[in-house]
């Protein structure tokens, strides 16, 4: 039987997904630059705006959603190329592709991990950004939802 016909969402696939998540999260936390660099970049961009434009609440609050979005996208871009490159360089990507498990599990896990270590910290930091830039409360929820989608999309883009 051909390999793709043998696929079902059995426990082995879920185990594999869990294993990948665990492995990559351990590596990411041991190499703090993976998540700190985009986060620091995001916060630097955000804090520069009040410094450059002055602390006028009305001006900052009208610019806030756009500024947060652009800063989040640029910060996500910093880490986009690293999704598969390390596994490719050290040969572990071969190990995944030779196994009989479906490759989309690997792609899904890598995208999810990338979002967890780059998108999620940015999403959390955007709460602070919203305060710094006087983001109106009624714009806050739509912005967080759009950032959630935007950062996920950036991680998906990085997997292309």
């Amino acid at each position: 039987m051909q390999p793709w016909l043998r696929f079902d969402m059995n426990s082995s696939v879920l185990d594999w997904l869990g294993l990948l998540l665990k492995r990559d999260l351990i590596i990411a936390f041991r190499r703090s630059s993976t998540y700190i660099t985009p986060l620091v970049f995001f916060l630097i961009v955000i804090t520069f705006f009040p410094l450059a434009l002055g602390p006028q609440e009305s001006l900052l609050s009208s610019l806030a959603p756009g500024v947060i979005w652009i800063a989040a996208l640029l910060a996500s871009l910093l880490a986009v190329e690293s999704i598969f490159s390390e596994d490719f360089r050290d040969g572990s990507l071969d190990d995944f592709f030779i196994s009989l498990e479906p490759s989309f599990v690997l792609v899904f896990a890598k995208v999810m991990i990338h979002w967890l270590i780059t998108g999620l910290p940015i999403l959390i930091a955007s709460f602070l950004a919203a305060i710094i830039l006087y983001l109106p409360l009624d714009s806050f929820v739509p912005m967080i939802i759009s950032l959630l989608l935007g950062t996920s999309f950036m991680s998906l883009l990085g997997a292309l």
């Binding site: 039987m1 051909q2 390999p3 043998r6 082995s12 185990d15 594999w16 294993l19 665990k22 492995r23 351990i26 590596i27 041991r30 190499r31 360089r89 050290d90 040969g91 572990s92 071969d94 190990d95 995944f96 592709f97 030779i98 196994s99 009989l100 498990e101």
Partner: protein
């Protein structure tokens, strides 16, 4: 006895130059194939072609399936070790084994047994602190995680001292007894019990 892998008239062409052509061999259970050739002769390319990482130019690669039929799709687990050994520097020796899909369901004790078999006792050491030879030992310990039908190993004896080379030969022999086969590459014959394929 049917071979697990049958290669017929396999050729690979890169930039209009034949890297290898008309290769024929069979990988029988418990028997080994040693692909010997100089630098750039296409040994790695051949392994990667067999495993489907690279598209072949011509020829037939047939795998035996559960119903004893040959087809072009592999339906059993194989092990591949390339020049990059898949070792993560930011993981410990133990984690480098435990966090691979082949170690799924294995106990800590069994994993440590694999590591001890290859002479690695400091299992909490970070892989980044190890020499190339020691990293290779982690990779060899991975061979023992599961009984694979065929092991494709690219230059297993490179960067190893004599005791480590002897250990590999010993492990290959042990795994052969269990019915596993090895397809290995090298610049010269390594004196393991294998059919030589020169490219």
């Amino acid at each position: 006895m049917l071979p697990n892998l049958k290669v017929e008239n396999l050729s690979y062409v890169r930039s209009e130059k034949a890297i290898f052509k008309n290769l024929n061999f069979e990988v029988l259970p418990g028997q080994n194939i040693e692909i010997v050739g100089s630098n750039g002769s296409g040994k790695t390319t051949l392994l990667r072609t067999l495993l489907g990482f690279i598209n072949k130019a011509e020829g037939i690669i047939n795998w035996l399936d559960e119903d004893n039929n040959f087809n072009e799709y592999r339906s059993f687990d194989c092990f591949y070790q390339g020049h990059q050994m898949g070792i993560k520097n930011l993981l410990t020796v133990f984690e480098n084994l435990k966090l691979t899909h082949n170690a799924k369901g294995m106990s800590e004790k069994d994993i440590n047994k694999c590591l001890e078999r290859v002479g690695l006792y400091e299992t909490n050491e970070m892989a980044s602190d190890l020499s190339v030879g020691q990293k290779k030992r982690i990779s060899i310990a991975r061979w023992l995680l599961k009984d694979f039908k065929i092991y494709f190993i690219d230059e297993p004896f490179t960067a190893l001292d004599d005791p480590a080379s002897d250990l590999i030969k010993e492990i290959i022999n042990e795994l052969n007894q269990k019915g596993s086969s090895f397809v290995i590459t090298g610049h010269r014959s390594s004196n393991i019990n294998a059919t030589l394929v020169e490219i």
